[in-house]
């Protein structure tokens, strides 16, 4: 009696097919997450390392008695003209080279700031400079990319930026043990640069940090107080409805429109300085506010009315009941909402492009009124650059950005786990 008829078999087959479709869909989404992360990580991790090449520098050619360096101030050393001296130090790697063109090519396997690096070594070790020191200089981007295997050596020479002879020099240096692959600290501390091997995310990390702090300072108090007003005090009338509709709509307005607001009002009417974390922060705050307000209201709503009644019944005013009991209980939810809003703001790019936070900024900003970039904008800027070296830098910046986002979200989850009360 319960035998499967032919019809039922067909139906069960179609059931199987449907399930397979569903599983394909969900695997597609999951695999994409995996591919994206693998792709970014595999191309980005190498940016945390850089190639350096050792040269021998004879500092006694600058001052015969190298102990005298100790008496010089950093400024004085910085003002020395060591340009020719530095060049000569590099030439000394291959004393046989006579041809000027070849000499030039040799110089080009080093990054452009070799003179400065030689000076900085001197400043750092001025107390006990030996006559001849081994100084590790940053290799140029072309060499760096070859070393990292990102740049094919087997292309015909005319299609490569790096010439055969330079590769020859490099191989000799590597065989002599002069090439060292080190952790790229300047990448984390320096500002942007036109030379990929010298470019760092320090400036944009600080820029992002200053922007996010501005967002926090502005949107956290305003968002929470607005939510408290709407949830606890507002009489239900047309005006309150209007505010609510506004907030829900703002949550769905495309981010670039907030950029237009920033450009049209904050820059042009209020005249605040362009390209600064202050303006970026203000624009992103306006964007984050709805998220915070909606989350805070939800957690205020979750506080049971009996708590308010308990406080009112002992004679607290409404304000006291709300501020002493309801708001502290809703705080974990409000904080979680704020952190999620901050994470959104941290990853936001489009509005910042319009208020000029795309400027090329070499200096690490020191206040919210300095021109600066931010991490996502840095990603955009470098992604648009042609040099091969920026690709790994872009991926590495994304890794840092994702890292910060994961930290923020983790904090939100922890707060929720630890403090949230179930009613």
């Amino acid at each position: 009696m319960f035998d499967a008829s032919a019809n039922l078999k067909k139906r069960l087959k179609s059931e199987r097919r449907f399930q397979i479709f569903c599983i394909t869909a969900i695997s597609f989404a999951l695999i994409f997450v995996l591919i994206l992360f693998l792709n970014i990580f595999s191309s980005g991790y190498s940016a945390f390392y850089k190639t350096t090449i050792a040269i021998d520098v004879d500092y006694s050619q600058v001052i015969e008695d190298t102990t005298q360096f100790a008496a010089m101030s950093d400024d004085e050393i910085n003002k020395l003209d060591l340009f020719r001296f530095s060049k000569k130090s590099i030439y000394s790697l291959f004393p046989d080279i006579e041809d000027r063109k070849e000499k030039k090519l040799l110089i080009r396997i080093f990054s452009i700031e070799y003179e400065d690096e030689i000076k900085q070594f001197l400043i750092k070790n001025k107390e006990n400079i030996k006559k001849i020191e081994t100084v590790y200089l940053t290799a140029s981007d072309d060499v760096d990319q070859v070393r990292k295997g990102n740049y094919p050596r087997d292309l015909p020479e005319e299609r490569r930026r790096i010439k055969d002879i330079q590769l020859e020099y490099y191989d000799i240096l590597e065989n002599n043990g002069r090439v060292k692959y080190v952790f790229n600290i300047p990448f984390l501390t320096r500002g942007d640069s036109r030379e990929p091997e010298l470019a760092g995310v320090g400036g944009s990390i600080v820029g992002s940090f200053l922007t996010i702090i501005t967002v926090l300072i502005l949107s956290f108090p305003i968002g929470i107080l607005a939510a408290v007003y709407l949830q606890e005090f507002a009489k239900s009338n047309r005006f309150t409805d209007f505010i609510e509709i506004n907030i829900n709509n703002l949550a769905a307005v495309p981010s670039i429109v907030f950029g237009l607001l920033g450009l049209g009002i904050i820059l042009n009417v209020f005249g605040l300085p362009r390209s600064t974390p202050l303006v970026g922060g203000i624009v992103l705050s306006l964007m984050t506010l709805p998220t915070i307000i909606i989350a805070t209201r939800a957690s205020l709503r979750a506080v049971p009315p009996s708590i308010r009644e308990g406080a009112l019944a002992v004679g607290a005013t409404k304000m006291q009941a709300v501020m002493h009991h309801v708001v502290p209980l809703a705080m974990p939810g409000a904080l979680t909402g704020t952190i999620i809003g901050l994470a959104q703001a941290l990853g936001e790019t489009a509005p910042l492009l319009l208020i000029g936070m795309v400027a090329f900024v070499v200096d690490v900003p020191s206040s919210p009124l300095d021109a600066s970039a931010s991490l996502p904008v840095q990603v955009y800027l470098w992604a648009e650059s042609a040099e091969r070296g920026y690709v790994e830098k872009t991926s590495a910046t994304i890794m840092l950005l994702l890292g910060f986002l994961i930290l923020l979200n983790l904090a939100a989850v922890l707060i929720r786990r630890k403090f949230e009360t179930k009613w």
Binding site: I26, V228, N246, A252, G264
Partner: protein, 464 residues
Amino acid sequence: MGLFLILLVLTIGAFGFLIGRLKAIKLRSASQKKITSLNHYYGYYIAIFAIVPSLLVFLAITAFQGYIVEVYVLSDFIDLNPNLLASDKNLLLAQIVNTSKGIELFDEISPLVTDAVDKYIYIEELIDTLTYVIVLSVAGLLSLVAYVKIKSNLDSRKFVESFLLILFFTCSLVAIMTTVGIIFSLLFQTLKFFSQVPITDFLFGLNWSPQRVFVRDSGDLDTRDLQNAFGAIPLFAGTFLIAFIAMCVAIPVGLMTAIYLAEYASPNLRDWAKPIIEILAGIPTVVYGFFAALTVAPIVRDLGQNAGFTVSSESALAAGFVMGIMIIPFVSSLSDDVINSVPQSLREGSYAMGATKSETIRKVLLPAALPGIIGSFLLAVSRAIGETMIVVMAAGLAAKLTANPFDAATTITTQIVVILIGDQEFDSPKTQAAFALGLTLFIVTLLLNFIALQVVKKYTERYD
């Protein structure tokens, strides 16, 4: 200097708090009877009087300072040339400010400028001093008034609480002010734009090439240049094309994912699969843009070329595909909610008749949840239309009217960024065009959201 003044005012406020509290304590012990409010409310009473009005005065002065300085410093120039343009005024002012700081960008400085520099330094100092005097005396005087007003029958709690309520209310107005700000900034520039370019040209024109206007000095544009430069149809078409491709990816994948998670997946699987899919929503869009431009676009090009198509390296397909991936979690989590809110009794009714799970889903659940699901699609479309970074980085920049997904297409958001990135000339029709595009975008997304929310609301009401 502003920061220091604010700190001073706050210090006065803190001091006011202490003396207010002290007076309340004294009153309490002197009168031996109950006074209306707790001691610290009297402290806050003075603090509010000290801080709030003086800070408002400070804000007002700061707001008008620029204007006053400009009028005073440039008075001589305006006497000479009453029709000085706004841009020239700004240039002059910048020169004067720079010179006063010792930065000399110009070889020759006219005596008029030297005079103005002196005037500038004088007025800046004067205003600074006056600001200090006025703000601090407002804070001091009002604290004193508040101190005198404290009596045992003063209901300071009521005052403090009313103040807080007004403060809270003001905060909730920020949302309205933001909307007003958006509409004002968009509308203002858009109206200027339409005064030069007819609205019909913008909405129905087939040719978008604002750079034509850009190369000319905006001062002597004639109408010929403006004709045929601002037809937004190619942008609308490109936006639609890319959003359509995105929805082709996001809707089936998102919906199937939602169905699987809601109906088939074990709670265990659901617990870890859902957050992973939500990661897709948390990844910054600039990351998708980078991925689309650098990884997906070349793959699409190679695949297309192998199949015998000519594929642009910035194809609409690549951008749309990646955008679709980004939108998956929106579709799936919204649809998930909707499917979950279908009452269990409907499912049971279907199972009781011997239907299989997929039959139940297709014949009972989806029809029942359809309005809600459509609502979630609409929200996703609005998201796709407003998305910026993916298309800026992976879609084309040149406007071309095409329906071919292998071709490069440009979008509204891309053009806004292309026009406004870097330095803008504020009075050129090109810049204003970007605001007109922004207004279009704002209206379209607002409508989509409004409709979507109405649909979802109607739907949830049905099962409440």
